[in-house]
């Protein structure tokens, strides 16, 4: 099974657009440490949707949006109220509010079924991506066939809604980039400068509610929650610039949607199984990408940090060897026995031309000598500094200086000798 325009085009567009809208907004949820708020809103809009639907008995996006927006705003207010009056931490307040509201929504759906409302609790969870296929018999089967006015007419309403929502989110995040940045980083300064932090907060919440509503019918709330948090959190690990983070988050969202969609529709086919739920697979994919980034990120990743630590340990071992050879020579010894030095350290020192071996012992080369002198100088200058400036006792300074000498930093000048009377090279 491969990509087929009638079957795959619209579900895939819906998924990609929903992911983009959520990822754009999610960056700020992650940075404001309120990811759970996205979770809360995307769950608690359910009763708003059902009630709006029951009152207006229409599924028009405008009615739905209104219901959800009211429910979203109510969530934000209720969380504040529960936090204050119930004296619980914010996480608990959000947890209580959204689970109760979501349960209320499920109840309402049950009740409304008798009155002929066709809303389904499971579709709220994982959406109806698969139903967005191009039903018309004359659907084109090649990309060239898409260039006709029929294509525009065939685009399902859900995809239009998501397109509008993704575009609005983009306008919001790009247009108010500066304002969102200051309101997220320093709300007090934002407010004193006339960019009301509270106002920006509610605007963001409104957009999250909007994205949730636009997405829920097509992709369900699972994908919304995953896409609000995972791309932003992943992107944060890849950069230290907010603008770059936002670009990354969109790329990651698109990648999750594409990988998830084809993973759900194609991979099961290779094992003669039925396709699995696409929205669910996309959510899982975004989580997998996050975990992969936690390990593999070049700047913040676990692996990169491990490599940097190893490199540091190697440098320290090498520098310690050079320094001890220098001290041995000072004491009048001709090198140190080769068995007393770890083979790998010795190898690296020889590879860099710092030491040479001769009849069972190793000695410094002229290059190594110069390098070692710098190190010992730094060590002794530190010792002097610690005694002279920091008030350490002379017999307490060797260990701290031993650590400090490897930082590459140190006092520039000092006396002729260190606190122990040894000459500073």
């Amino acid at each position: 099974m491969t990509f087929s325009i009638p079957v795959d085009l619209f579900p895939l567009s819906a998924a990609v657009l929903a992911s983009i809208a959520c990822a754009l907004l999610g960056n700020f949820l992650v940075l404001r440490r309120m990811s759970l708020m996205g979770d809360a809103i995307s769950h608690s809009v359910l009763p708003g949707l059902v009630i709006a639907f029951m009152i207006a008995s229409s599924r028009s996006p405008l009615v739905m949006f209104l219901g959800a927006a009211i429910a979203g705003a109510l969530t934000v207010v209720l969380v504040e109220v529960v936090k204050r009056l119930g004296r619980v931490e914010p996480g608990a307040a959000m947890g209580v509010v959204f689970s109760v509201l979501f349960a209320l929504g499920v109840l309402l759906i049950e009740q409304s079924r008798s009155s002929g409302v066709d809303l389904d609790a499971s579709c709220v969870l994982h959406g109806q991506l698969e139903t967005l296929v191009w039903w018309s018999a004359d659907a084109p089967n090649s990309l060239a066939g898409l260039w006709s006015s029929d294509t525009l007419r065939a685009v399902p309403r859900q995809v239009w809604t998501l397109l509008v929502m993704a575009a609005l989110s983009l306008v919001f995040v790009v247009g108010f980039f500066k304002e969102m940045r200051i309101a997220s980083f320093d709300p007090a300064l934002a407010t004193t400068q006339g960019f009301s932090a509270g106002g920006m907060h509610y605007a963001l919440m409104l957009f999250v509610a909007g994205a949730t509503v636009a997405a829920f019918e097509a992709v369900g709330s699972i994908l919304v929650i995953a896409m609000l948090i995972c791309p932003g959190a992943t992107a944060r690990l890849l950069t230290d610039r907010l603008s770059t983070q936002i670009v990354w988050s969109v790329a990651i969202a698109i990648a999750s949607a594409l990988l998830g969609y084809f993973g759900a529709t194609m991979i099961p086919g290779w094992f003669d199984r039925a396709p699995v739920n696409a929205a669910g697979t996309m959510g899982v994919t975004s989580g997998v990408l996050l975990v992969a980034t936690i390990f593999a990120s070049p700047s913040h990743g676990v692996i990169a940090r491990m490599l940097r630590r190893t490199a540091m340990a190697r440098t320290v071992a090498l520098e310690d060897l050079l320094a001890s050879l220098y001290r041995a020579r000072e004491a009048g010894e001709q090198g140190v026995p080769i068995d007393s030095v770890p083979t790998r350290v010795c190898k690296r020192a020889r590879a860099r031309g710092f030491v040479e071996r001769a009849n069972g012992s190793i000695t410094l080369t002229p290059t190594g000598e110069a390098e070692a002198a710098t190190l010992v100088r730094r060590h002794r200058l530190w010792e002097h500094y610690l005694v002279d400036r920091a008030g350490f006792a002379p017999d307490h300074v060797h260990a701290p200086a031993e650590i400090l000498e490897h930082t590459g930093l140190g006092p520039e000048t000092g006396p002729e000798t260190d606190p122990h009377g040894r000459i500073i090279p």
Partner: protein, 282 residues
């Protein structure tokens, strides 16, 4: 806003504005009149009256919980006032906003945020730039110049979590300079900084004074008050004394500020908070 505290003055008097009142001068960069502030119905500042003299470096000094930060925040509208009036050069805050620079406490923000030192300083220019407009080259250059004034030029591109505490404080100071204000309100600018940063901050404060600015700063180190500041406000839930350091910064006044004579007042505040929230009396 129902706080359970009655306004200290009838409304018509407050509505009249402070400029016409003889004890408050319109030249004063900051006039506080009968300001009371309460957190969750518990009063933390009582009936504060103060006029800042122009072009002075003014320290706010007092023990923990005296309401020093609250005083600043209430003046800038960051926490609601239960009663009272605050004016800047005889104008209300909204109209004087662009002439006031604010330096919050360093701990009040998330230093892991993905912005560089230069980005943070540029935030000081946002009001001048206006809504929805990007930060232009000229504004970036102005921000860079401010970083240079606090000796942080070479760290412009650094992500802020990679700066030391003192460097972070200097970035905050540079951001305030970028606001090009006439009045600077600073919350503990010297808290937890190294000696080099302390010198840099003092230098900037003096420079601000020579260019005609006024600085009001919460300060915790009593020893340096006479050296760094011209005026002082001694605060402990209310203004114990205020004025030039040589007149006001006396052993006697300090004892009144730190000596715990106001325990009855703070107990009364606790009792009011309990009564207002409907709890049982202790």
């Amino acid at each position: 806003m129902t706080t359970g505290i009655h306004p200290a003055l009838p409304d018509p008097v407050l509505a009249q504005g402070l400029a016409e009142r003889p004890e408050h001068s319109p030249e004063s960069p900051l006039s506080i009149h009968a300001m009371t502030v309460a957190y969750q119905r518990k009063p933390v500042l009582w009936d504060v009256d103060y006029d800042a003299p122009p072009n002075k470096l003014i320290a706010i000094v007092g023990p923990n919980g005296a309401g020093k930060s609250t005083l600043i925040k209430a003046c800038l509208g960051l926490v609601p006032r239960a009663s009272g009036l605050v004016e800047f050069w005889g104008q209300e805050y909204k109209r004087a906003r662009s002439r006031i620079g604010y330096v919050p406490q360093r701990e009040s923000v998330d230093w892991d945020f993905p912005v560089s030192a230069l980005d943070v300083v540029c935030m000081g220019r946002y009001r001048k730039i206006g809504w929805c407009r990007p930060v232009s080259r000229a504004h970036k250059d102005a921000a860079l110049a401010c970083l240079e004034r606090v000796g942080m030029h070479e760290f412009a591109k650094r992500q802020i979590s990679q700066l030391s505490g003192g460097q972070q404080q200097r970035v905050f100071l540079a951001r305030a300079l970028a606001q090009e204000s006439d009045l600077y309100v600073m919350d503990e600018p010297f808290a937890g900084v190294d000696a080099a940063t302390e010198r840099a901050i003092v230098e900037v404060l003096r420079e601000l004074k020579t260019t005609g600015k006024t600085v009001v700063a919460v300060h915790h180190d009593l020893q340096t008050v006479p050296e760094y500041f011209d005026d002082v406000i001694l605060l402990n839930m209310r203004v114990v004394a205020s004025g030039p350091v040589r007149d006001v910064f006396t052993r006697e006044n300090l004892q009144r500020t730190y000596g715990g004579r106001l325990t009855l007042l703070s107990e009364a505040a606790e009792a009011m908070a309990r009564a207002a929230s409907g709890e049982m009396p202790a």
